[in-house]
């Protein structure tokens, strides 16, 4: 039966959790997101599943396609991690410790399990779960489950098989490339260069010659050390260059730029920060990384360190300027981000001079005192890759072949769009009495939804997304310079939206509060600049609106030079780490406050009517219903300006799917 020739309109998904319990879902609308949190279309409440793990969609050929959305534990198909999988018949995939059986018909689900599926049943399971797994296996009329001893034997055998399958045969065995983690070899189809985003296999790594005579690279210029494919190695596994020197440094086969070994060992998490010129991207980036250096290890048992001090030197200089300056009274500042120069690498690709933004890279690993260290060590060890683009790069017409400085947008796991209210004349009219030089009548204003639209268009153009399609990624819309406009938000916000959770010996993120703040900010934006809300929500299935202030204080203008800066003593950043923490929460890296510890407010009697992806909520005493996007469903929300609390029901089955 060749089902793939017709456009898929439905499918069936059987979820087999780690206890062997099964449930079957009938998916009738696509894309269908799969994840741990209740906002997803198909919710799998298992800690090994990321909050946004995967999506089921129908591709241009009308085929059903399962895609990994940057999950921590990936999707395994026949023991090989796959970034995406076209499903034309019954397929079994594993998400963390949960198995999904996907078929195009309900009868298709019942096909005979494959040999590999049987082997999967006997794959590593904690001692406490072995009996359950064995029970499930026997219930499915499979061959008798092995005894505990037999399972141990078969486990080691299976792990060996796994390694053989996930790592392509590598001629560089024994070299540093061969020591690259199994995660990289299997992660999303190889390694993604953080400089040019070229995806390549581990055995395509070039090595960088060290002997001083071996210079002259066709891509990097006559003075750069030669890049080469090695044929000889030292006993330690380093490549030998033509002069016989040991070469540990590796480079991308396309742009020839050096990739730190740590970055090649840990799968990357790409983060794009987008915004108009002078919206404060560099200040936000600096304050965010500075805050994360302390917040993550101290509160969430996650080490956050420079992957490579050379790559991060510019950002480290920024941090020193703002946070480690000797004189707290001296006005300091960051220079305007340029479109050429030290923030970029210029390379010659195809006889074309191409500017590539220098990535900043941070290593994130669970600290040894992390409550689930052994369990999450491999999955949580990631390289966070960030870029400090100039705002000009996002303006229409700036996307050029020789200046692909924003193409990280295609690979980004999350996007932070910085919306600057001081650049919006409508916000300015509502803010009174501010002495901020950015609010002076002569200060420039700009339509920022144009930048947002341009960003969306670039992503759609290069990723092949349909013009009407929505991204499954969460877009974080950060309303910056909160210190200037905080009076417009009818809320008192705590400095740190997280609480100590003694159950896991780390802090837990107050996601309820964050969602409630997001709702309040959305209501404000919809009132002041509705086109920004409409543009953001036309692109992303979920948008999180967060306030933040990179400096927490208005800058001052230097009388002599006319430049604006800030005194270090005035710097008090506000909520700069929260967007990243939410992203890490979504990825399953950090916990949220458990249900039983959450504060519940008395709720008003409301009526909710779902239409598309928006709830129309009628509240007592209000003639007009409030529009609440479905991504707020399940969270207790307060209508700004009132004491009315309400919750819209989670959309578990409708509108995308019906559970059978």
């Amino acid at each position: 039966m060749d089902i793939a020739k017709e456009t898929v309109t439905e499918c069936y998904v059987r979820v087999v959790n780690r206890d062997g319990e099964t449930r079957t879902c009938h998916v009738v609308r696509f894309p269908c997101t799969i994840g741990r949190v209740k906002e997803r279309d198909l919710v799998i409440e298992d800690p090994s599943v990321s909050s946004l793990h995967a999506s089921l969609s129908v591709n241009a050929e009308g085929q059903l396609c399962l895609e990994d959305l940057g999950s921590t534990n990936g999707i395994y198909h026949h023991y090989v991690q796959v970034p995406q999988l076209v499903i034309t018949q019954r397929e079994e995939v594993v998400l963390g410790q949960v198995t999904l059986v996907i078929a195009l018909t309900e009868a298709g689900l019942e096909a005979t399990p494959s040999v590999i599926e049987m082997a999967r049943k006997a794959m590593p399971t904690p001692q406490s779960e072995m009996s359950a797994a064995a029970t499930t296996a026997s219930a499915m009329a499979s061959p008798p489950a092995p005894t505990a001893k037999e399972e141990t034997t078969s486990k080691s055998h299976k792990i060996l098989k796994f390694n053989e399958l996930s790592i392509p045969s590598n001629p560089l065995d024994g070299s540093p490339a061969a020591t690259i983690s199994r995660l990289v070899g299997s992660g999303r189809g190889g390694i993604v260069c953080p400089h040019c985003w070229h995806r390549f296999a581990v055995d395509e790594f070039l090595f960088i010659a060290r002997h001083q005579s071996l210079v002259g690279d066709p891509v990097l210029g006559p003075e750069a050390p030669i890049r080469f494919m090695p044929s000889r190695f030292t006993p330690e596994g380093n490549a030998l260059d033509a002069a016989g020197m040991s070469c540990p440094d590796m480079a991308c086969p396309r742009c020839h730029l050096r990739i730190p070994q740590a970055a090649s060992e840990m799968p990357p998490l790409f983060l794009s920060i987008v915004g108009a010129p002078a919206s404060g991207k560099s200040y936000f980036l600096t304050s965010m990384t500075w805050a994360l250096r302390s917040v993550l290890p101290r509160n969430f048992a996650i080490a956050f360190t420079d992957t490579d001090a050379v790559n991060n030197q510019i950002l480290n200089d920024f941090e020193e300027t703002l946070y480690l300056h000797l004189d707290p009274n001296e006005i300091v500042g960051l220079r305007k981000t340029e479109l050429q120069g030290e923030l970029y690498n210029q390379v010659l690709i195809d006889n074309m001079l191409v500017n590539l933004p220098k990535p900043f890279m941070f290593t994130m690993m669970p600290a040894e005192h992390h409550p689930r260290y052994q369990e999450v060590k491999a999955g949580m060890s990631r390289t966070l890759v960030l870029y400090d683009n100039a705002g000009e790069h996002f303006e229409p017409g700036m996307d050029q072949a020789d200046n692909p400085t924003t193409q990280h947008l295609l690979h980004s796991d999350t996007i932070f769009f910085l919306y600057d209210p001081t650049k919006d004349v409508r916000f300015r009219r509502r803010i009174s009495g501010s002495q901020d030089p950015q609010m002076e009548p002569t200060a420039r204003v700009q339509r920022q939804e144009i930048i947002l639209t341009e960003m969306i268009n670039r992503i759609k153009k290069y990723s092949g997304m349909k013009s009407g399609g929505k991204s499954a990624r969460t877009l974080l819309l950060l309303v910056s310079k909160y210190d200037v406009w905080k009076d417009l938000l009818d809320m008192e916000l705590p400095e740190s939206p997280w609480q100590w959770n003694s159950a896991c010996n780390t802090c837990a993120l107050d996601v309820d509060l964050i969602k409630n703040v997001s709702f309040a900010v959305r209501q404000l934006l919809e009132d002041v600049c509705p086109e920004v809300v409409a543009t953001a929500e036309s692109f992303a299935g979920e948008v999180l609106y967060l306030p933040n202030s990179a400096l927490g204080h208005s800058p001052e203008k230097q009388e002599d030079s006319g430049m604006i800066g800030i005194r270090p003593k005035d710097i008090r950043p506000f909520w700069v780490s929260v967007p990243m923490l939410y992203f890490l929460y979504e990825g399953g890296f950090i916990p949220s406050i458990p249900e039983e510890s959450r504060v519940r407010h008395p709720e008003a009697a409301v009526s909710c009517k779902l239409s598309g992806d928006v709830y129309f909520v009628t509240l007592p005493g209000r003639p007009m219903p409030v529009q609440v996007p479905v991504f707020f469903a399940g969270y207790q929300l307060r209508l700004p300006g009132t004491d009315l609390w309400f919750t819209v029901p989670p959309v578990k089955t409708a509108p995308n799917m019906a559970e059978t």
């Binding site: 001083q212 990097l220 210029g221 006559p222 003075e223 010129p277 002078a278 300027t321 300056h325 001296e330 006005i331 300091v332 500042g333 960051l334 220079r335 305007k336 340029e338 479109l339 050429q340 120069g341 030290e342 970029y344 210029q346 390379v347 010659l348 006889n351 001079l353 500017n355 100039a390 705002g391 000009e392 303006e395 229409p396 017409g397 700036m398 050029q400 020789d402 200046n403 030089p437 950015q438 200060a443 420039r444 700009q446 800058p555 203008k557 230097q558 002599d560 030079s561 006319g562 430049m563 604006i564 800066g565």
Partner: protein, 312 residues
């Protein structure tokens, strides 16, 4: 025909929709594919931190690069400098580039041209616009070649020969000059270049404030701020000759070029040829630059009627 392009941070750029760092002016007819090349050469690295308040003392990057991109080699003469605060109250820069064709190469060479007052713009307060006329390079040459600036700085004008003697063939050895803030490097470069035959001068590439080599470009004489990353990098380059102007220089050998730098050229003395043996020497003296005119002589005759044109 020489084209020029100006790049700075402005509220509005020449291309619709652009603002911030962008091109604000260029000569009409500048080939579109060369605009990104010139923009890519506009990088500038401030020597001082914002809070040091020394924006007036930032070094100026006067440079001459040659690029083999786009098939035919082109010369780019540039002046890039810090430019105070822009319209958003943040640091600005001004880059002025001149794309020089082969026929515009005047005898004085790139450094001599750059030294001519008013040739490069040092401020920009205009609305974005196109230049209707091509940029004309002034014609002229150095005087007696005596290296007075070198003499004033190091006590011996003969040190200028250290640079000129390393120009050999097409590229020559990279010479790195380490300088301190406040040293005016362009006259030093000019005096070293004056020692070379005119047709060699345009083969020499230089930057009076070198921070990094743009991909696809050559740069032979590099002035690096002492203590900068570029200076440290240069010291690690075994093939570069480093001249540290921040400390006393060793004596220079008595070579014809050193003598020329010390004493200058006497009337009637010919150019020294020792450094240009590998280069094809032109048969004649350098041509004076031809000023293009919309009403040049060749256009005074109506080619249809072969009669003199009648202008109204």
């Amino acid at each position: 025909m020489a084209y020029e392009l100006i790049y700075t941070s402005s509220e509005r750029g020449l291309r619709p929709g652009t603002s911030g760092f962008c091109t604000v002016a260029y000569t009409k007819g500048l080939p579109a594919q060369k605009i990104p090349l010139l923009e890519a050469l506009s990088g500038y690295r401030n020597a001082y931190a914002f809070q040091e308040g020394k924006s007036g003392q930032e070094p100026v990057s006067w440079c001459h690069y040659r690029s083999p991109l786009f098939g035919r080699e082109v010369s780019v003469l540039s002046r890039i400098s810090a430019a105070g605060a822009d319209h958003t109250g943040r640091s600005n820069k001004l880059a002025h580039h001149i794309l020089v064709g082969e026929s515009e190469r005047v005898a004085g060479g790139p450094a001599w041209v750059s030294l001519q007052p008013g040739f490069f713009r040092e401020t920009w307060n205009e609305e974005p616009h196109c230049f209707n006329e091509p940029k004309f390079l002034p014609s002229g040459d150095f005087g007696d070649c005596r290296a007075r600036c070198w003499e004033a700085l190091t006590g011996d004008g003969g040190h200028a020969a250290l640079l000129a003697e390393n120009v050999n063939g097409d590229d020559g050895r990279v010479v790195v000059l380490l300088f301190e803030p406040g040293m005016d490097m362009l006259p030093l470069i000019g005096e070293a270049m004056a020692l070379l035959p005119w047709h060699v001068r345009w083969r020499v590439t230089y930057n009076t404030y070198f921070t990094a080599l743009p991909a696809g470009m050559l740069c032979t004489w590099r002035c690096c701020l002492a203590g900068s990353d570029a200076a440290r990098e240069a010291r690690r380059n075994p093939r570069a000759m480093v001249i540290d102007l921040t400390s006393p220089l060793p004596p220079v050998e008595d070579t014809p070029m050193a003598a020329l730098a010390r004493e200058g050229r006497r009337n009637g003395q010919k150019e020294l040829q020792s450094v240009s043996l590998t280069l094809e020497e032109p048969m004649t003296a350098p041509p004076p630059p031809q000023r293009l005119s919309l009403r040049s002589e060749s256009r005074e005759i109506n080619m249809l009627t072969l009669k003199p044109r009648q202008y109204r």
